[in-house]
Amino acid sequence: MKRILVGIKRVVDYNVRIRVKPDGSGVVTEGVKMSVNPFDEIALEEALRIKERGAAEEVIVATVGPADCQPQLRTCLAMGADRALHVQTDTPLEPLATARVLRALTEREQPFLVLLGKQAIDDDNGQTGQMLAALWERPQATFASKVELSQGKARVTREIDAGLETIEVDLPAVVTVDLRLNEPRYVKLPDIMKAKKKPLETLTLETLGVTPRAQLKTLRYAPPAQRQKGVRVKDAAELVAALKQKGLL
């Protein structure tokens, strides 16, 4: 079966204003809205469109994390994924360990394509996809803004600093997606009802043979440095004068 595996992460919602806890132990997540990482939603949308075009037969969505992640997996099933895999663990994993989990899932599911967001908007690491590609010894195409599949190959347009780069990779491959690849669909109520009946399988790190190592310890969280309060000018002439005074014109 031609399968696409999509990795998703549960993160603090995009619209939440982040606050660092006063004791520096983390950011406030109690009572905060959680969502599917927006880049991962784009990855899932792309997988669904590929399936709808007939180029894939099954879309599997997977996540690693505590039991709380299941609502996000259900959201993905409601968007149209065929089944979900929940690798359940209460230990926060570093990107390399997450990549190992995904590597084990590629062994299990044999996808021809793995789609992931280019980064998660919580830790902003941007590592998992590239690490998976390295462990899997397969190509990677990061920051994708266009994905075209044909005969065992993918042609991917990438958003790079200089503009747009196109590369061709043999499949299977790992593609991490950027913002402009597509616009994810809205979930409709009947789809949410249907999603409740779709298979959601729970797995453990042990069954996948992954033993996480802690190589990085977060010692403290701090709020970013605040900028000094600025001044208001009333028109263009005052603005030019202020810039000249600062030696900027």
Binding site: D124, Q140, I160, D161, G163, T166, L179, A214, A236, L239
Partner: protein, 313 residues
Amino acid sequence: MSHHILIVAEHDGRTLNVATAKCVACATTIPDAHITVVVCAANAAAVAAQAAAVSGVHRVVTVEHPMHEHPLAAAIAPQIAALAGPYSHVLGPSSTFGKDLMPRIAALLDTVQVSDIMAVESATRFRRPVYAGNAIITVEVLGGAKVVATVRTASFQAAGTGAQAPIEAASPVAPPAHTRFVSVSAAHSDRPDLQTAGKVISGGRALGSAESFQMLYRLADKLRAAVGASRAAVDAGYAPNELQVGQTGKIIAPELYIAIGISGAIQHLTGIKDARTIVAINKDPEAPIFEVADIGLVGDLFEIVPQLEQLIG
């Protein structure tokens, strides 16, 4: 104990990208740093000579292979992994080049990556932004693991020149055949580069069209400034993607940043936090951009921008 640091050079085949000199600046803040720059290229001589001149660089290693004509992570990563043995740290810039490449290297080396280093506290302790820069974390690499990292270039001043480091050639390892470069389309422009410009003028959704964005280009030319854009402006098609400034675009640190018709979403502010002076022009006095602006001007950009053009002219 000296720390042997390997920096992966970013370049276009002719010129060393300034991001590399910023990585060198970061590396020099690691105690007892002994810095090697590695240049993977089809023809490395010109770039290697520039790298050898960067202050703080002790040695340059070149790896020449036709596959390195274009920087493909799948080809470069095994090369760097093969060289990395003696080094305690392997650094690259937090540009799309480094973000693509470095995690692949880290996984090949079976080690951890620290993304977006903004400050070095010790050889194993670093500060980096999370949540789009809304929190700064201090992390410690444990157990003597090799440190692979990307350097947040906006946090470091480029190292100067004047060094004369020796240049050596290393033999290439065979790159994989599964990844092939096809093309790159970049808008060539005589304007300053967005990432290195001293002055940047950015436009947002309020510009309303690609045509009105031209107004910013004219003003930018008078100020010898680069042009940037918010995500909203890029998504709306007013400006090309490579101009996007913010969490998922470019992180910049110009002397002067002028935000025109940009409301100031958190994701945009992340990209400009290190600008020396931020100017905001917006018709909404409550726009969040004013919270970070050093100089704010509330008004209609379609009146103000032409006035500025005249006043500066």
